[in-house]
């Protein structure tokens, strides 16, 4: 109620400027937390493996080494061979790029779409808001994996279909969060100030509103990325990947999990990779969220 009580800069000392609210700064600030650092570390390692893995792989991803599920010592490899007799390590090193790129692309599309819809809905404050959100409800009525599954079984497991299905199901979830985050911002007077100036709606949405919800959106994006990875992996696990025998972590898990008890590496490596990756993004999101909450608390307008 009385904002006077929370003169924030004074609490920190005016002479030491601590820019606490910008997204870049939010990231930088969240890096002070151990969890964010560990998250960044995990993510970096996994992204590096995914990107540079093919350069480090001892064998081509489709070079037959020895009979399927031969042990490392029997096949002269580090982690043995997989269900088609390929080198597990090489397949693992090749297998990250696909899932990462698919997950990233679909999440980015979904988040962008969701943010736009959420912002428009929050700013509209009228029937358009209702209509948009009901439409989002309609899409959200289907679990993400289910919609993806149906789409993929209908049209075939093309990468574009997987990307679209995930993007489409990510969007409404993001839209809801974006709208929720934007609603209080829309009520704030600086929006009124720009309206009074006659700033165009598009510039209000993306120049004024958007920067103010970047914090929660970053958290949401990492969460969504986590989900996207899981959905892609689950689709692959159900045998619905674009290229059914490609070197891909999801496919590796599906095809090699039968041997989890005897020759575990073929499934275990990608499981660990996906777990580390999602944990990494999860930790980063968590760190940003905690930092943002901390900042909001300091600012007193949480």
């Amino acid at each position: 109620m009385s904002q006077a009580e929370t003169a924030p800069a004074l609490a920190e000392g005016v002479d030491v400027p601590t820019p606490s609210v910008r997204s870049t700064a939010l990231l930088a600030r969240s890096l002070r937390l151990w969890r964010t650092r560990i998250g960044v570390l995990f993510t970096l390692i996994l992204v590096l493996i995914a990107l540079l893995g093919p350069l480090m792989a001892p064998h081509a991803s489709d070079k037959f080494i020895a009979k399927p599920f031969s042990s490392g010592s029997a096949s002269g490899t580090v982690f043995g061979t997989d269900y088609l007799g390929y080198d597990v390590l090489s397949r693992f090193l090749y297998g990250g790029r696909g899932i990462l790129v698919t997950a990233l692309v679909s999440t980015v599309i979904g988040v962008v779409l969701g943010v736009v819809i959420g912002l428009v809905a929050a700013y509209a404050r009228n029937a358009l808001d209702d209509v948009l959100m009901r439409l989002m409800d309609v899409i959200m009525a289907f679990p993400q994996i289910m919609l993806a599954l149906v789409a993929v079984s209908l049209v075939g497991a093309k990468n574009s279909v997987i990307v679209l299905a995930i993007a489409l199901t990510t969007a409404p979830r993001v839209a809801r969060v974006a709208r929720g985050a934007a609603q209080p911002v829309v009520e704030r007077d600086f929006i009124g100030a720009t309206e009074a100036m006659g700033l165009s709606r598009v510039r209000i949405l993306f120049g004024e509103l958007l920067p103010n919800i970047l914090g929660p959106m970053m958290v949401e994006a990492t969460l969504r990325l986590t989900y996207s990875i899981a959905v892609i992996a689950a689709l692959a696990f159900l045998g619905l990947a674009a290229n059914p025998d490609a070197a891909n972590w999801g496919i590796m898990i599906q095809k090699n999990q039968v041997a989890l008890a005897s020759e575990p590496w073929g499934a275990l490596l990608p499981i660990l990779a996906i777990a580390l990756l999602t944990m990494g993004t999860g930790l980063i999101g968590d760190g940003i969220a905690r930092t943002a909450a901390g900042i909001d608390r300091e600012r007193g307008d949480a």
């Binding site: 289910m146 944990m279 999860g282």
Partner: protein
């Protein structure tokens, strides 16, 4: 006053029901249109045996020669009368094909909910109370790890650990024979339920923790302490009801997800639920079953959201009295 308030909630529920019906109507249009993409069901049924004669005969039998709009309203009409049509794959009424699957899924979801919700609320609350202390650090990192493990990984690891390789304590699969009920096999339910609990608990407990922290930092909780109330009263009477409001929504979303999104777990445990039913129907191009399941899952979502809204309203007098 009392009557008015009751009426208010009833009115709210009616409004939300109508909205839910609207959503379901839109869903039905989308479901119908997109199931048309499944292609000619007759051809799909016949597969390798699709000779022109048999194709034509079957198309006629399936009433595929009428107009699309006509087909839609015919289907919608049936839907409203509880007539979901006949399964193309098994030639039996969809209701009897799906009946036991729905019951099985319901058992799984309800059990998972009954276990995971209190557990995660307790964990989240306690972690909030012991913020940044060891319990909080341990549980929140553990929850993060569990959330990071894809659920089929959890399921497969549980099987290896508890039934096939390390210990031989529990059955590896849970195939609920037809004609029996899932709850007759408690030992077979343990692992699927555990997997679902592990899938859901991290999200619920995280939001509970966040919500609880916010409430614990609120002025009214500080005030309750400054009034000299015993800590137990502060937590149970003042903090919990306020903290739990935002959690309902998350619970609802997670349960809706459980209802339709556990294909993978059903697959691992060979559990005859609607997830596998859907996969089966989609691969068999069994359009009536796909449509019925899609509508069912959407309806579950709508209903759970409605319940969550009502629950939120019930614990939030400000919302309740505004109605």
């Amino acid at each position: 006053m009392k009557w008015l308030r009751g009426g208010g909630i009833a009115g709210f529920i009616v409004r939300r029901l109508l909205l839910g019906l609207l959503v379901l109507f839109l869903v039905s249009v989308i479901v119908f249109v997109s199931t048309q993409l499944l292609g000619d069901p007759a051809r799909a049924i016949l597969g390798r045996d699709a000779t022109p004669d048999r194709l034509a005969a079957l198309q006629k039998q399936l009433n595929l020669d009428s107009s699309k709009v006509g087909q839609y309203f015919h289907w919608l009409g049936g839907l409203l009368h509880g007539d979901l049509g006949t399964s193309l794959a098994s030639s039996q009424p969809v209701t009897s094909v799906l009946g036991s699957r729905i019951a099985n899924s319901a058992v799984l979801v309800v059990l998972a909910a009954v276990v995971s919700v209190p557990v995660s609320i307790a964990i989240g609350s306690y972690a909030a109370l012991r913020r940044e202390k060891s319990f909080d650090t341990v549980t929140s990192n553990l929850m993060l790890l569990l959330a990071a493990l894809p659920e089929f990984v959890v399921a497969v690891l549980l099987v290896i650990l508890l039934s096939t390789n390390v210990f031989h304590l529990l059955p590896a699969i849970s195939p609920v024979p037809p004609g029996t009920h899932a709850w007759q096999y408690p030992d077979e339910l343990v692992m699927p339920v555990a997997t679902l609990v592990i899938a859901v608990a991290p999200y619920v407990s995280r939001i509970m923790r966040a919500s609880m922290i916010e409430v614990l930092e609120s002025d009214y909780v500080e005030m309750a302490r400054l009034k000299g109330l015993p800590e137990r009263t502060v937590l149970i009477r003042h903090a919990l009801p306020n903290a739990i409001g935002p959690v309902f929504q998350v619970i609802a979303i997670n349960l809706a997800y459980l209802a339709g999104g556990v294909v993978v777990i059903e697959s691992v445990f060979n559990y005859p639920g609607i997830g596998l039913g859907l996969v089966d129907a989609v691969t068999n191009h069994d359009i009536p079953v796909v449509q019925a399941l899609a509508m069912l899952i959407a309806a579950v979502y709508v209903v759970l959201n409605l319940l969550a809204d009502v629950a939120t309203i019930l614990v939030t007098p400000r919302l309740r009295t505004r109605l």
